[in-house]
Chain length 402, copies 2
Amino acid sequence: MDKLKLIHDMAVDNGTKIVLLVMDGLGGLPMTPGGKTALEAAHTPNMDALTARASLGLSTVVAQGFSPGSGPGHLALFGYDPLENLIGRGVLEALGIGFHLQPTDVAIRCNFCTVDENGNITDRRAGRIPTDEAAKRVALLRQIKIPGVEIFVEPVKEYRFAVVLRGEGLSGDIEDTDPQLTGVPILPITPRTAAAEKTAAILREFVAQGEKILAGHPPANAFTLRGVAMDPGLPKFPDVYKIKSAAVAVYPMYKGVSRLVGMDVIEHDAESPAEEFAVVKKHWDEYDFFFVHIKKTDSYGEDGNFDARKGVIEAVDAALPDLLALNPDVLVITGDHSTPAAVKRHSWHPVPVLLAANTVRRETATEFGETACLHGSLGYIHHTDIMPLALAHALRLGKYGA
Amino acid sequence: MDKLKLIHDMAVDNGTKIVLLVMDGLGGLPMTPGGKTALEAAHTPNMDALTARASLGLSTVVAQGFSPGSGPGHLALFGYDPLENLIGRGVLEALGIGFHLQPTDVAIRCNFCTVDENGNITDRRAGRIPTDEAAKRVALLRQIKIPGVEIFVEPVKEYRFAVVLRGEGLSGDIEDTDPQLTGVPILPITPRTAAAEKTAAILREFVAQGEKILAGHPPANAFTLRGVAMDPGLPKFPDVYKIKSAAVAVYPMYKGVSRLVGMDVIEHDAESPAEEFAVVKKHWDEYDFFFVHIKKTDSYGEDGNFDARKGVIEAVDAALPDLLALNPDVLVITGDHSTPAAVKRHSWHPVPVLLAANTVRRETATEFGETACLHGSLGYIHHTDIMPLALAHALRLGKYGA
């Protein structure tokens, strides 16, 4: 955390305003060799015009060749080194369903599975039972009471559900119980430290009671625990950067990650980019930093739908004048990773970055796209550089050293 | 080694195939200011055509300004941080003569030298005696027997020879005995740790017996010990990356380094690039990763022979269709460092990299060369990024974090 400490020491609150506009999975690939990416193929006159007063660059999110998950991608965007800080899988699962996690809660991602009469796993995903079938079993598991701890059991999707333990002296230092194989038993609950023994005992009791309840309900007659974790206790974004900060996001996961780093999360009914920008406008005077998250660029990338991805980028561009009309001192447009439709997954390719401010050098590029960014005046940066650069361009960072 | 651990955890064996084609010392300089490098001057239609489906970049092998030796160059190529990991000089010397080093062996690079009647060094290289003269003395040294340890004495070149100790409880933690000066005695054998005392005692005995044998054979009437070292015990390449790996190289040193990281070394009689590619073809179905090493680009660079260097690059290019016909999922063409004919030595200049795969962005360059690489879509990378990038482009790396 040394670099964040340095940045904190240099930060001043001068009232300037920054917008970090994140199109999830923005970086792309051509569908055929030598072709254009979705961002390049999209008609984006407003972003292109911004290049006249912006710096472009490409950014590595974690490390060359690493395809970031949503957790590392957003930690990096927010300036936290994603190799030093990791949000546990259980915590992400809880955030993803909008669960308001408290700092001392332990969150666990659970998978319903099928075991045979000998206790050996025959299906690690319980035949991918439908979400509503899983919800019925979750309701049954909610009956479990263990003294001294509050237990939340929440459905997620299909065979996945989340458990949150709330109480005193809990720990997330517990091994997964999913052996990642069939034909073998579920692994015993094993604490990694002595401090986790109490939590392990609670989970053993929870699993014992749960398996008794589920015994009569195949195929989901047992469950495994994965990614037992607590809030990583990151330094809070508004404190580190001395900036009053809010998140505008549609999906629970991104609201959750924002909450985890201490941003205010603005509740709203917006869905489209234009509607999200209207939320920013409505709260413009209350905050100096807005993280605005657009989800669908990633979703359509994972679907392999190049044209729909392009359409989302065009919708963002069409609505952009509303955001520009607010006159942010710094506007950064980027993504949390690449999700090329060509590979239908998060990828390792560097992410295009546009940083508009009054303090940029002459930019030779005249459009916002991966190829243009390669030769942009921002150069090749790392995602954890984005926040220091945004603050600097907003004149919010003083001198380093005398 | 944390990063290798992360890569290991993300790695999947999906059966895709990667070829890492290394032209030793590939990076060059123009012979006159503003001129072309050997790679740029060479007629390379096949590599140039590859740019239509490749990413180009420049890569720093160790750090800016550092001219890498063969050891660090290849460690970096294989993904091991060359600032954290070093192959000892004694080990490299043994690998260079094709000695099959075992993990508990201690290898030492020795120099014949001349000492006067007072034991002071008068020539640190024994008048650079010819290799065959040195070989006669090596044969004499082979008579030395010390209980509890097996001793190998091997000629290398001119005044250089190698000694390998094989036995129980040996250590490489011993100081050099070469004072790097004349007019002073050879330094005493000094262990750096208590655990090295046994090895030091063996070496003192070896030196005492050796000097008695050599006394009548000036100018090589003594010898110094340099770079006493053991196998650094690196994590094994095929285990780290979960890929069945083979090396095709002509020179013993590169076979040795490959063996050191756990690759299979394919024995063959190939000499030319075309013959080496034929070896790859013959074993194509047995492995998913091939390290192919071309030596002469470096040798001619050290000779200052620009045209011969260019000729080797052209021979590689002419044979390239044979390699491309195998349809590797990823082909990387690069070097282990630069060896410009203009400076006749390994240099610190960044090394051109071409990575051909179906998952690259549009490349604006149309030829493979240092200047084109400077503006390539791969950007400016580090040599330890090459393996993660190759694996990623072969879709062999999953997500980092959820």
